[in-house]
Amino acid sequence: MNLPPVVSATEWQAARDALLAKEKEATRARDALAAERRRLPRVRIDKDYTFDGPDGKAGLLDLFEGRRQLLLYHFMFGPNQDAGCDGCSMFVDQIGHLAHLHARDTSFALVSRAPLAKITAYRKRMGWTIPWYSSSESDFNVDVGVSPEAPQLDVYQDGESFGLSVFLHEGDDIFRSYFTTHRGVEALGSVWTFLDLTPLGRQEEWEDSPAGYPQTKPYQWWRRHDEYEHADADPAA
């Protein structure tokens, strides 16, 4: 492995400070993106959707739980599956205590196409308490573009896809302001962020790392948190 040079603390500090200047530039650029995001137009939701939730039938407005904004993660869980998507499961593991979002008048909910009974069982298995609703009796998933018209039995999670939608409401009027997926969702997860800070990175094949670094395919190394066979496995060893 072609590892970086070993230097004195002073030399390291100089190199680290030089990088810090670039990191700060990126931080400002991210702030500018967020400012642009806040100015996106929004789309009124003109259709009534009904979800099955822990407390019975719920409309989209109910998912706000009385708060002004709603972050809604489209969790891949096909109606014919018994366990939700492993990547979505890792994402949910990374969502912190919701009290901090609630403090900013923002709720968080998961929505999947699987029927509520399957969601309830899987949620219990994973030890999550985050509100999770089924859209199995509704067009919601298809309308927002995360589900095929009909479940596809030969595709992972029946062809469901994932992403984060953002909604806000004014009285009974509900608006969708944002949607992101793929690397946009990775940016929301602390596991990816932490790995980006380590010398070895995410250890995924697409990364530009020096020759000899351990690398495996993205989207394949993670497991549901109760399915890691060798939690101590170290690809660098």
Partner: protein
């Protein structure tokens, strides 16, 4: 509050797609930063430190727990920090609320994650257990109290604000 534009789905999609281009540019910029970060030089740690953990006294090497990489969260918990002696820093607690569930996914990449605080171990263990984060599994962050050096900070720290 100023009137915010309400558009058709097509208008929103056009605006959102334009923003997506900027977001992707930022993603690639972040990838490039990570690459530069990985190329940073390393500093050998030439001093022995010992830490008090729930299962005894540990060296810095012990904190790696057999893996090749270690992330240490410097959790503010000590006599000069808000909440002392019963609680750690509210801001660090806010950060740590999202770590319990994430930490289980780091060992498969050869990474161990621990928190280190200046407070004596008895204060770390006595602090009320944070309520279980909604998105978390049962794996708790392992905490360790830094017992040496007594005077001053072990490393120069940098902030990324």
């Amino acid at each position: 509050m100023t009137e915010h534009k309400v558009g058709t789905r097509e208008e929103w999609l056009a605006a959102r797609t334009a923003l997506l281009a900027d977001e992707k540019e930022f993603t690639h910029r972040s990838d490039e930063l990570a690459r530069k970060r990985q190329a940073l030089p390393w500093v050998p740690i030439g001093k022995d430190y010992s830490f008090e953990a729930e299962d005894g006294t540990k060296t810095l090497a012990d904190l790696f727990d057999g893996r090749s990489q270690l992330l240490v969260y410097h959790f503010m918990f000590g006599p000069t920090v808000e909440g002392w002696p019963d609680a750690g820093c509210p801001g660090c607690s806010y950060t740590a609320d999202s770590l319990d569930g994430a930490a289980v996914h780091l060992p498969p990449r050869g990474v161990t994650f621990v928190a280190v605080s200046r407070a004596p171990l008895e204060n770390l263990l006595a602090a009320p257990t944070p309520s279980t984060p909604p998105g978390s599994c049962s794996t708790a962050l392992q905490g360790a109290a830094a017992t040496t050096p007594r005077g001053g900070r072990a490393d120069t720290t940098t902030t990324n604000d």
